[in-house]
């Protein structure tokens, strides 16, 4: 509840930040000229922020600049106070509340599977989704760290209990599937992901995860089909682009592979592209 309260703070702060930015930007256009204003817009507001502080005395912007500075510093301060894991959870809660369906717990961010020939750098991972009504759920989610379960056997047991209590919870099947995946019991993982997508056909993350499990079993055509489905449901899903790029790479579809790595990078996940460029796979 506390995390949710803090988590709710972010959209409110973002909105205030946008309003303050617009106010200072108008002043910038008026007093600094069009060129200055345009630079303010194209630099994500950073130049407007600096300009605002330079001119704060002459244009009576001191109060508004203090507010803007506090808003910008708040996430950094909270990160220091609560730590990265808690912040990740807060951001995730905001995502849930604002209708973003990508529960990070359900994404497979673990590409370090031993059977995969590509060694990608470890990616930063946010923490698990909010617990609902059972302690087993929270206990299982607490085991999810850095893109995998710290104790997949225990996580699997906990998800068994969640599923026993609530057999219609697609997320639980998906998450147990991830535990099986971590245990390298890929066929059982596929069964769970399949159950999740049967219960929730719009579940892009579960399709992505099943694609990864097929990938681990070297069934690249099936993996590609699942990544395609995932991207059909969620076109801006960077992980699915990255994973499909890997599947294409295995299928010797070099051009498509590089295209997917680039697309994933455009969407903010550049690990694949960096690897592909360093290894000379993509130019």
């Amino acid at each position: 509840m506390f995390e949710m309260g803090i988590g709710l703070l972010f959209p409110v702060l973002s909105l205030i930040s946008l309003i303050v930015f617009i106010i200072v930007l108008i002043k910038q256009f008026k007093h600094g000229g069009a060129l200055q204003g345009i630079i303010g817009i194209i630099t994500c507001g950073l130049w407007t922020f600096i300009w605002g502080w330079i001119k704060h005395k002459s244009l009576a912007l001191t109060k508004i600049m203090i507010i803007w500075t506090i808003i910008q510093l708040t996430p950094l301060v909270l990160l220091g106070v609560f730590g990265a894991a808690m912040m990740g959870q807060m951001y995730k809660m905001v995502g849930d509340l604002t209708g973003d369906p990508s529960l990070l717990m359900k994404q497979d961010q673990n590409l370090k599977d031993r059977s995969a020939p590509i060694k990608l750098p470890k990616r930063r991972v946010k923490t698990a989704p909010a617990a609902k009504d059972t302690d087993w759920n929270a206990a299982a989610q607490a085991l999810w760290q850095n893109g995998q379960y710290t104790d997949p056997n225990k996580a699997k047991d906990y998800w068994d209990k969640v599923i026993a209590a609530n057999p219609k919870m697609a997320e639980a099947y998906n998450n147990r599937g991830l535990a099986f995946y971590n245990l390298e019991r890929h066929q059982q993982a596929i069964n769970d992901f399949s159950q999740a997508v049967r219960m929730k056909p719009q579940y892009a993350e579960a399709f992505n995860n099943r694609g990864n499990a097929y990938y681990a079993l070297d069934q690249y055509e099936k993996a590609e089909a699942d990544f395609n489905k995932s991207l059909e449901l969620k076109p801006k899903y960077s992980k699915a682009h990255l994973n499909r790029g890997l599947a294409y790479f295995q299928m010797k579809k070099s051009e498509e592979s590089c295209k997917d790595f680039r697309r994933a990078c455009d969407l903010g996940d550049c690990d694949g592209l960096q690897w592909a460029m360093q290894s000379g796979h993509c130019k």
């Binding site: 194209i42 950073l46 600096i50 910008q72 950094l76």
Partner: protein, 149 residues
């Protein structure tokens, strides 16, 4: 007819008006900008929270400079191709960042001299205006690319 001509002249003078020159001339401004640039790059390189773009964080729409800091970090790490792929203007802004840091510690007289030369160059070429137009064109291309994978 005359009003139109005045309007065109105003746009032209706006396009060619110096931005970097006066910035370099202002010690306070250049120190502040250099410090913010260094902090932004350091926070991004450390993988923690850096400057939050108010447009992207509220509306989800990427600004023309979104991804630029990450690209600059990649550029600094020697991953030039990846950097350019992430944001084509990374080398230019990386160079500008270095220039800002050096400019912020120059002796006053030399700083003024360089500022005057930059301002004259800007008036002559409209380099900042051209750069802005290029970034905007690049941004449009990126958005089109994102919409049509």
């Amino acid at each position: 007819m005359r009003a139109d001509r005045i309007k065109i002249n105003r746009i032209r003078s706006g396009f060619f008006s110096p931005v970097l020159g006066p910035l370099v001339r202002n010690r306070q401004a250049i120190v502040l900008l250099a410090a913010v640039t260094v902090v932004q790059i350091a926070l991004t390189a450390a993988g923690t929270i850096a400057w939050q773009c108010p447009v992207k964080s509220t509306l989800g729409v990427a600004c023309p400079a979104c991804g630029l800091t990450r690209a600059m970090v990649l550029f600094a790490q020697g991953q030039w191709k990846a950097a350019i792929d992430l944001h084509a203007f990374a080398p230019i802004f990386f160079g500008a960042g270095i220039f800002l840091v050096i400019g912020s510690i120059l002796p006053a007289r030399l700083q003024q001299k360089i500022a005057n030369q930059i301002a004259a160059f800007e008036r002559l070429t409209g380099i900042v205006g051209l750069l802005i137009l290029s970034i905007l064109a690049y941004w449009v291309l990126r958005i089109i690319n994102l919409m049509n994978p």
